[in-house]
Symmetry: C2
Subunit: 193 residues, 2 copies
């Protein structure tokens, strides 16, 4: 990685952290300059506008999400082990400081049409599709019932993850993880052949 | 209701709509003056600071939530009918323009300590407690298993509602409601005696 690319990574990580804690509304070239200790003009050299910065933050987060959640899960054996890997990886992702950037972005941008919202919609669709696909491998492998509905299972698992995010981050509820695990095991039991 | 109280209600409804669409970060005396066509000085006469305005918006939303979701549900017979009424009322609440103000506020404020965050935490705890209590009436009435866990059921039902909120508002997914209903019926089936 060149020095320029490394700086860019550092900036995008810091920007992602700002979005997770204060939202896109609180993330500007100014607040980013403060958190990275770079000059505003230096930041403008990397990102021409707030809009391109927003899109690059989302793109960067998506790459990190694939790298930390989806790709290692797909390395697990097809079927139930892969579903379990997706769940564990997403649980870890939701537990990082500031929580999940996509949950923050979805809630902030759902009524603000534009390229950033379009990107969040695409990423959320990709996530639900990945979950449904992984549940689908459980049907092919005979771990789950032939008439199980992968999209419904994806919808419900996403709900469990959102409830966990809510309970853990907002309420600081120490039981959030065990509640999420109980809900997940119940979902698997219902899916099983 | 006096003219002053009526104006106050109008302002708080408009402020709640702003929070649902652009968040607390985008709701200020300035944007509120534009949306209500009242003067900034007129608004300052009602709310002394942005912070008191935020708290009053949440208080007003809570009153509306109790009036539209919780109180009419508690009027339904104890047990399963009351759980169904909570679900239907919350589904309607989440479907209003801009979605649920508490979902928006939770995501925006989860990393911003202060009185507004404290209020959102209290309201979310009250909501989960109300849900658990209503599931509890289902146990007493013999509709649900004696060993059903009301807090776990509340956690899972809140997840279904959050997933619905996400799919419907962000993705504009036409299947969101039927997915939520399927998940809800499955939750009830698991709770039943």
């Amino acid at each position: 990685m060149s020095k320029g690319e490394a700086t860019r990574e550092t900036i995008l990580d810091a920007a992602g952290e700002l979005v997770r804690t204060v939202g896109f509304a609180g993330m500007s070239i100014g607040t980013l300059a403060t958190s990275t200790r770079l000059s505003k003009s230096g930041l403008y050299a990397h990102f021409k506008s707030k809009e391109t910065l927003q899109l690059e933050v989302l793109e960067h987060a998506k790459a990190r999400f694939l790298h930390e959640v989806v790709i290692p899960a797909v390395a697990a054996p097809r079927g139930e082990p892969r579903v379990r890997a997706m769940f564990e990886n997403k649980l870890r992702w939701n537990s990082q400081p500031g929580g999940c950037i996509f949950v923050a972005a979805a809630s902030e941008l759902d009524d603000q049409p534009g390229p950033a919202r379009d990107r969040v919609v695409r990423d959320q669709r990709d996530w639900l599709d990945s979950l449904a696909q992984v549940f689908g491998t459980g049907i092919t492998e005979g771990h789950f019932r032939a008439d199980a509905d992968p999209e419904q299972l994806a919808f419900e698992l996403d709900g469990v993850m959102l409830s966990y995010h809510h309970c853990k981050r907002l309420l600081g509820d120490g039981t959030a993880e065990s509640r999420a695990r109980t809900a997940f095991e119940s979902l698997l039991a219902r899916a099983r052949a």
